[in-house]
Symmetry: C2
Subunit: 233 residues, 2 copies
């Protein structure tokens, strides 16, 4: 079974934090992290209504790394999806319905990141996400209030089917990406293409819900290739 975590990155209006706490409780969730949030004042509790316990138990942390620790999949949200297949940061993007299909039957913590109300998630953060989700809104005004975006996504995910296919942890995947980066360096892959290629591989592996065993096998392929290269030097 998938456990869902909501991470708000530097929210600036505490009313939204309260509203989102209520949405979590409405849909039966309770795992929320706040990265460097605004002060959580009275307005937050007014908007949380009967979800004050969710608000009280929100995990306040000072880095995104602490908020995603233990996750198996990190999902970035954006109101500005990529428009060409060349933009790997925001492409491909998935609708909430498609996200649901991807994570159904899996096991692990799926963490969904929501950016600051005024600027959203930075490209640097989107870059580290396994998948990017975009709510299909009208082009005239695609930018939703953050609490409404959370409600649409949690509504879609609230009845995920139970499953037990364990997804690899983020930490393990990061080690794989570091390994791949080193590998590209070792094989003299053209330096100006490295970042883009690494991001593309991130996107491919991000949406393929790797298991821990698969991550180990990919490490093994890279190691085998490295050994073979060393031998032929």
């Amino acid at each position: 079974m998938v456990d869902l975590r909501v991470v708000l990155v530097e929210p600036i209006y505490c009313g939204n934090v309260g509203s989102i706490s209520r949405v979590l409780k409405n849909f039966g969730f309770n795992d929320i992290f706040l990265v460097n949030p605004c002060d959580i004042g009275e307005e937050a509790y007014i908007m949380a209504s009967h979800a004050d316990n969710i608000l009280d138990n929100a995990n306040i942390v000072d880095t995104l790394d602490k908020a995603v620790l233990g996750s198996s999949l990190i999902i970035g949200t954006t109101s500005k999806p990529g428009s060409t297949t060349d933009e790997h940061i925001r492409m491909p993007f998935f609708s909430p319905k498609e996200l649901k299909e991807k994570i159904e039957e899996k096991e692990g913590i799926v963490t969904i990141l929501f950016g600051r109300e005024d600027v959203g998630l930075s490209n640097n953060i989107l870059r580290t996400c396994d998948m990017v989700v975009y709510i299909p809104t009208n082009q005239n005004y695609p930018v939703m209030n953050i609490s409404h975006a959370v409600s649409v996504i949690l509504y879609e995910l609230c009845d995920i089917g139970a499953g037990n296919i364990p997804i690899a942890k983020t930490e393990d995947k990061e080690r794989l990406f570091s390994h791949l980066e080193q590998f590209l360096f070792d094989i003299n892959y053209p330096p100006h293409k490295r970042d883009k290629t690494l991001l593309m591989v991130r996107r491919i592996l991000g949406r393929s819900e790797l298991t821990g065993r698969e991550v180990q096998t990919l490490h093994g392929i890279l190691s085998g290739a490295e050994l073979s290269i060393d031998r032929n030097k």
Copy 2:
């Protein structure tokens, strides 16, 4: 193609009215009626953000009848669905997904009613609705903020397929229900059962998306039966 209308019945917080205007614009809708709303002050415009045009064009009316005029289907929303099939006011109820399936391929105005923030829609209003919709929330805290309920429902309905099966107008269906009420009276249907039976028929016909022609045919059956009864008197 179905046109969607949102009706807020006596909203008491103008911030919610603004938030809901934004949600409409996010999902490409613009038809909103406010029945005896609170004053629409600055907070409404702050929450509407770039949807101030939707807020400015909201239709403010003093009766629900004016707000639903011209509708083909009236949908009531509730956070308290019925629990037994004997409760026709709130039963059967549909999820937003099921509502979408019901109205897909149809033509006409589908009007969705949202009740006051503190009390929701009254039983008297739910009684007149064709269908009742309930967002599948957690039993521990099923009551959503009204603007979040609107966003979930409009998200679900924002990509309704185009169709051209015209649904009968509410006014025509109301005449049919009056006809049926008179008919039950004429045939001496047990008085203590009349209201419940009428409501049950409302629910059956409400969810069957009658066309205008079908409404006329049902009138014809009742009229034929009346004639036959008169003759045999």
